[in-house]
């Protein structure tokens, strides 16, 4: 327990805050602690978590990616046309295409960053404008509804009728979210590449001198983020059953806020999958709670902004140190 507190100070603090928030909401609103509410929270935030774990890898490697949400929109459009060209497709082809298109867009970022030694925020702001401008130009801002049926028909993985007759259900994006979290966890915590990513993010020059191939690190980080962006885009269209070119613009900053709230450091070398999930969860539960308490939806962003500001302002508190001091008093 103490070692968890020490190695994951932000995550454990976030977990405590989240549990307190949930406990408070459970008392304040009878609708909060229900199966239906819980599953709909998972369904509605799965895409954000998929993007968050992708962005996490970039942040760990010391970069930042502004372009991934727009890249997801680009992937959605490319997928619609690719599936039409091959005459339908199925989920396996869908994941393959979305992942590959996303990977490709991510690798464009990685190439520009590595080859020309441009800092990632400059490159991704440039590609953000380029992707978005080209997408709006070629799509003409049109919505697409003619998705293949396998893509747009809701895949329900698990359902359960509660006592009052409403259905609690989990849909495909939740499983994909779990897969994305597991894969990212395996990549950053259980592989040599993951250790190299942390080392590279913490000290790029030191990592280079230790013989870590920098171009490979950049490619893995931005490629992973692009791939998750593509898969998240595929899932987002599955939920909304349409492709809208400017629907995802602006989501990149929300996801970035959630990831950093979850303990990832801008500047590299720190972050965890659990933190990502908790960061997204805190924002989602807050919004959900405000909704259930009957607060005007116009006030949601205001409260979330205050919560993030408070979370940042308290970021110098370290829970592990309280326990250590207490232990020191006794001996």
């Amino acid at each position: 327990m103490l070692s968890f507190l020490r190695s994951y100070p932000t995550e454990s603090k976030l977990l405590v805050v989240l549990l307190l928030l949930c406990a408070g909401l459970a008392i304040a609103s009878p609708d909060f602690l229900t199966l239906v509410n819980f599953t709909s929270l998972l369904n509605n935030n799965s895409v954000n978590v998929i993007w968050a774990v992708g962005l996490l890898v970039v942040l760990i490697a010391g970069g930042i990616d502004i372009s991934f949400a727009v890249a997801a929109s680009v992937v959605q459009y490319l997928c619609v046309f690719a599936f039409a060209a091959i005459g339908g497709g199925n989920w396996a082809i869908g994941f393959l295409f979305a992942g590959m298109f996303g990977l490709g867009l991510g690798l464009i970022n990685a190439f520009l960053i590595h080859q020309f030694r441009i800092i990632s925020i400059v490159v991704t702001i440039a590609t953000f404008n380029a992707f978005f401008g080209l997408l709006m130009f070629f799509s003409g801002g049109r919505f697409l509804y003619n998705l293949p049926s396998w893509w747009s028909v809701r895949v329900i993985l698990w359902e359960h009728q509660t006592a009052d007759g409403t259905w609690a259900e989990l849909i495909l994006p939740v499983a994909v979210m779990a897969g994305a979290m597991l894969a990212t966890w395996a990549l950053i915590q259980r592989s040599t590449t993951g250790r190299q990513l942390f080392a590279f993010g913490d000290n790029p020059e030191g990592a280079r001198r230790a013989g870590i191939p920098i171009w490979l690190m950049q490619s893995i980080a931005f490629g992973w983020c692009g791939m998750m962006a593509g898969i998240g885009g595929l899932m987002q269209s599955h939920i909304t059953r349409e492709v809208v070119p400017n629907a995802l613009v602006g989501r990149e900053l929300e996801v970035l806020a959630a990831v950093v709230l979850g303990g990832a450091r801008l500047g590299g070398g720190r972050g965890s999958v659990l933190g990502c999930f908790l960061g997204v969860a805190l924002v989602a539960v807050t919004q959900n709670g405000l909704n259930l308490l009957g607060v005007s939806p116009f006030a949601f962003n205001m409260v979330i902004g205050i919560i993030i500001l408070l979370a940042i302002s308290s970021s110098n508190l370290r829970p592990a140190s309280w326990f250590e001091r207490r232990k020191g008093d006794r001996t």
Binding site: I64, I66, L112, F116, R117, I118, I119, I121, V122, V123, I125, A126, T127, F128, N129, A130, F131, F132, G133, L134, M136, F137, G141, G250, L253, E254, L256, A257, V260, R265, L266, G267, S296, F298, A299, F300, N301, M302, V303, I304, G305, I306, I308, L309, I312, S313, S315, N316
Partner: protein, 336 residues
């Protein structure tokens, strides 16, 4: 000629000649492609469009030179505009007098300064990353604005206010005059005052600046406060140009301001950057957008071109740096 060149570079930074060359090139290309490009009407409309993005870019510039970023600029501008709109509506809307305008402007500048000061204080005294702090402030201000306006527009201002957004004085558009005054102010502030010196030192190495005896925390608060004030000026201009205020007006400009700063040769890590090259970069962006517009392309294509243009400029800078490095090493080999 070369003496003049050297003096210009010394005063306004090494990026300036290249950017001016770019500007000339783009202007020549567009005037060859479209006969309407070099007309008074087109130049006039450019002069009316530029200041809005320009003022917001100035607001972004100072935090970037200090090694930070202010993602809240758009919504700070919106909030300041809302403040002015509330005061004007309180004092009779269309019939509001000049007194109400002055009061509203002062309050709007105060709101901008306050939101900046809060950000600066959190950044300075908590040590949190500016991207995160300003992101939180952005979400908060957007929420506050949505809460106050319920997502709607606020309009109904005295007709004489249109002078700020659409009028001309001595043949020069008023927004452009406002922008140029702010540019001169910012240039003097950044290059000829102690505050400007502190900003650049903080951007270069904040710890060294602290040990060197600079009051870094107070400077950081001041940087974001001034940035907020500049946002408020932009917000007031936006109000009078659109004759209405809506939270989210100009949202698409947020990342374009960052793009303009980088294009103007500001170091993304902070420490280096000058006002004049950034202004030239803004003019280049405006020329690209207006020129493409005249050729019948949409604003979206212009956005894409802006992004590709930034990449092209960064690649050219990298190539130039490599070439000069190679030349340097060859010279050293010959010498030895």
């Amino acid at each position: 000629m070369s003496a003049l060149y050297r003096r210009l570079v010394a005063a306004y930074g090494p990026e300036l000649p290249n950017l001016v060359a770019f500007l000339v090139l783009v202007v020549v290309i567009f005037s060859l492609l479209s006969p309407r490009f070099l007309t008074g009407a087109n130049l006039g409309s450019m002069a009316f469009q530029l200041p809005e993005l320009g003022l917001l870019t100035l607001a972004m510039l100072m935090p970037i030179i200090s090694g930070g970023l202010n993602l809240a600029i758009i919504f700070t501008a919106n909030m300041a505009g809302l403040t002015l709109a509330f005061v004007l509506n309180q004092y009779g809307g269309v019939d509001a007098g000049i007194g109400a305008f002055i009061l509203g402007t002062v309050l709007a500048l105060g709101v901008g300064a306050l939101s900046g000061a809060v950000m600066g204080a959190v950044i300075a005294y908590v040590g949190a990353h500016p991207i995160l702090v300003s992101l939180a402030m952005m979400i908060f201000l957007r929420g506050l604005g949505e809460f106050l306006t319920r997502g709607g527009d606020i309009s109904g201002f005295p007709p004489w206010m249109a002078v700020i957004g659409h009028g001309t004085a001595f043949g020069i558009p008023v927004p452009l005059i406002l922008f140029l005054v702010c540019v001169v102010l910012w240039h003097i502030l950044l290059n000829h005052t102690r505050h400007g010196f502190s900003v650049r030192m903080i951007g270069s190495n904040i710890r060294a600046a602290e040990y060197g005896g600079l009051h870094t925390k107070r400077t950081l608060v001041l940087i974001y406060t001034l940035s907020g004030v500049m946002c408020a000026i932009a917000g007031i201009l936006m109000l009078s140009r659109f004759n209405s205020v809506r939270v989210g007006h100009g949202e698409a400009l947020l990342l374009v301001t960052v793009l303009a700063c980088f294009l103007g040769g500001v170091d993304p890590f902070g420490g280096f950057g000058r006002v004049v090259p950034v202004v030239v970069a803004l003019v280049v962006l405006q020329v690209l957008s207006s020129g493409l517009n005249l050729l019948g392309a949409s604003q979206h294509l212009a956005t894409a071109v802006w992004g590709l243009f930034l990449i092209a400029v960064m690649v050219l800078r990298w190539t130039a740096a490599r070439l000069s490095e190679r030349r340097e090493s060859e010279r050293r080999e010959k010498g030895s």
